[in-house]
């Protein structure tokens, strides 16, 4: 059973085909890496999945029944699609703890927000997540964190949402080698329970994920399979790995 089905999707910007007849299926619990040169359409694909933009053609379904082209960002998030941006975005003038609180799964309406989440559950979850991503001080302003720490905070926020599908765009950017490996471990741990799509350029990281890899090029799937298999593909070497 797939959690995500992308079929024959195309999307142009001012006549430029950023996504060109894209087909992709992610199984429940699968961890999938997406690689490809700059401008291949990786981020645009995530924009399509999350309802930020609409495809010109084709269909996107979540859990086979939910038509993602009819939903906005909040709608897809509520369905259970969590997204980490390429450029880390946390809410800088709130504290680390407050950022997590905002992300915690729960009702998202205005009236329930006036009341706020249940305090006891919230603080337990907050402590668990901060421990997981090794951020010690929940009272610290998010704006004061280093680039790498912001990445971690954003990952913690992603998990706080308890999403069924995680879209993770270049999580390792700005991280040390050790942190990169820890991220890979974390994602591998999360797979199974969650379905995960990771975009990354760092090949050591992709190797550490030890999962199926999809190579995107000019908005189209160029190759798919285990990393060793796709990296032996002459076309892939030509457009991406060889450079």
């Amino acid at each position: 059973m797939s959690i995500l089905n992308i079929d024959n999707v195309s999307k142009s910007f001012d006549g430029f085909r950023a996504i060109n007849d894209l087909n992709l299926a992610i199984a429940k619990g699968e961890l999938r890496a997406i690689i490809g040169p700059n401008g291949a359409g990786k981020t645009t694909m995530m924009d399509l999945i999350t309802g930020k933009i609409r495809p010109d053609q084709g269909t996107l379904f979540f859990d086979t029944t939910h038509d993602l082209t009819r939903l906005d960002e909040a709608g897809t998030a509520r369905l259970g699609i969590g997204r980490k941006f390429q450029k880390p975005t946390v809410i800088e003038s709130l504290t680390v703890g407050e950022n997590i609180d905002l992300a915690l799964a729960g009702p998202r309406g205005v009236w329930s927000a006036l009341r706020g989440p249940d305090r006891a559950t919230a603080s337990r979850e907050r402590a668990r997540l901060l421990d997981l991503v090794r951020l010690a001080d929940p009272g610290r302003l998010a704006g004061e964190l280093s680039h790498g720490q912001k990445q971690w905070l954003e990952i913690a926020m992603l998990l706080a949402q308890e999403p069924r599908l995680l879209l993770v765009d270049e999580p390792a950017a700005g991280m040390t080698d050790a942190e990169t490996m820890r991220t890979a471990d974390l994602l591998r741990d999360l797979a199974g329970e969650h379905s995960i799509v990771v975009v990354e350029h760092d090949m050591d990281f992709v190797r550490a994920l030890n999962c199926r890899v999809t190579v995107l090029h000019q908005g189209h799937v160029l190759a798919e399979g285990p990393l060793d298999h796709v990296s032996a593909n002459p076309e892939v070497i030509d457009v991406y790995l060889g450079r």
Binding site: T50, D72, E73, A74, A77, R78, G82, R83, F85, T89, V90, I91, E92, S93, L94, E98, D101, L102, A103, R108, G109, V110, A113, L114, R115, G116, P117, L141, G143, E144, M157, Q161
Partner: protein, 357 residues
């Protein structure tokens, strides 16, 4: 956050002292008109708080907030017109003078309920609230943001000004509504009424501050900061940003309407000039001066500017606008976080809440 609580406690205590002191001094050290003047400042302060709620906490820079204030003022003004009754120049028991002058033979439908004080109180919040809701519903859903949103808020108040200038609108044209006599049967010029209006303004300001604080300190307030600082991130967390903006925008407009309604009986007139774009820009200056995103600072900024204005228009009537401009430039350059920010800067607490406009 604790900072906000402390500032709020200090400000509310000061307001309380003022509210107790002024009645004691009224008619002795303090002339009657001064009571009215301070009452007017308090209305400005409430208006400033309403703007700070949307600008400081949700990043919505409204350049049209005077529209909500003025609508509240007109609603109250209509009631005051009806209270004049047959004491007008034309002694028409039913119609306000300007309608007699225009040869109208009956009240337009929208004046129908204006004789009821209770309905007036309701409409004081409902009319600005409804306009804000409709405006916001379209603007926020269309994801109009930043400068574009500011411009359309300005266009909104400008359009209202033009409309209200027209006699056919039924709001007294360019003369507006004036010559009020009394409220609830008590003459507006009586010391008791002046004091009552002053106290009502102080209570409204206190309530406005507490409501704004409750909103901004709640979980909803955090969502709003998220909207302000990282709108897209907040959307991807599952929050429907437009609903949150609409909520706070509508609450803010209602608050501004209350300020306008309390203002009118104290100044004795409302005319379409109140809708002028410059008025809305002045509110922004108050908030920036006092400290955006501090609530108390907004109230303080409004009162400081209003007081300076009163003093300066006495001494240098022509120079007032230049003084305001210079003040604004100086504050932007040297006190980027306003008066309250500068006071807090003496002991650095949390990092400044940097925000893109």
């Amino acid at each position: 956050m604790r900072q906000i609580n402390r500032n709020m406690a200090v400000f509310l205590s000061g307001l309380f002292v003022l509210t107790v002191a002024i009645p004691l001094m009224q008619g002795q050290v303090l002339p009657d008109y001064a009571v009215q003047l301070v009452g007017k400042y308090l209305c400005y302060a409430l208006l400033a708080v309403s703007l700070d709620l949307v600008w400081g906490y949700a990043g919505i820079l409204s350049l049209g907030h005077a529209a909500f204030f003025t609508l509240g003022a007109y609603v109250m003004g209509m009631h005051l017109m009806r209270e004049i009754g047959a004491r007008g120049v034309y002694a028409n028991p039913e119609l306000p003078d300007f309608m007699v002058f225009l040869n109208w033979d009956s009240l337009p439908w929208f004046w129908g309920a204006s004789d009821s004080f209770a309905v007036t109180l309701l409409l004081v919040v409902a009319v600005p609230g409804a306009l804000a809701f409709i405006f916001g519903w379209f603007a926020f859903r269309a994801r109009v943001n930043g400068v574009y949103l500011s411009i359309i808020t300005q266009a909104m108040t400008y359009a209202l000004m033009l409309a209200f200038f027209r006699n056919e609108m039924g709001f007294g044209g360019n003369n507006g509504l004036t010559d009020f006599k009394d409220l609830l049967g008590i003459p507006l010029s009586s010391p008791g009424m002046r004091l009552g209006l002053f106290i009502a303004s102080a209570l409204a300001l206190a309530a406005g501050l507490l409501i704004a604080r409750a909103i901004t300190q709640s979980h909803l307030g955090r969502v709003l900061v998220g909207v302000r600082d990282a709108e897209s991130r907040t959307r991807f967390l599952g929050y429907r940003v437009e609903e949150y903006k609409l909520f706070v925008w509508t609450v803010s407009a209602m608050m501004a309407g209350v300020a306008g309604a309390l203002y009118v009986p104290q100044v004795g007139i409302v005319n379409p000039g109140e809708f002028a774009p410059a008025n809305s820009i002045e509110i922004v200056i108050w908030v920036a001066l006092g400290g955006r995103g501090t609530l108390v600072g907004a109230a303080l900024g409004a009162m400081v500017v209003a007081l300076t204005k009163t003093l300066l228009t006495g001494w240098l009537p022509d120079a007032w606008l230049y003084a305001l401009g210079a003040l604004f430039i100086l504050v932007t350059l040297y006190l980027p976080r306003g008066i309250v920010g500068a006071l807090e800067g003496l002991k650095p607490a949390r990092k400044p809440q940097e925000v893109a406009a």
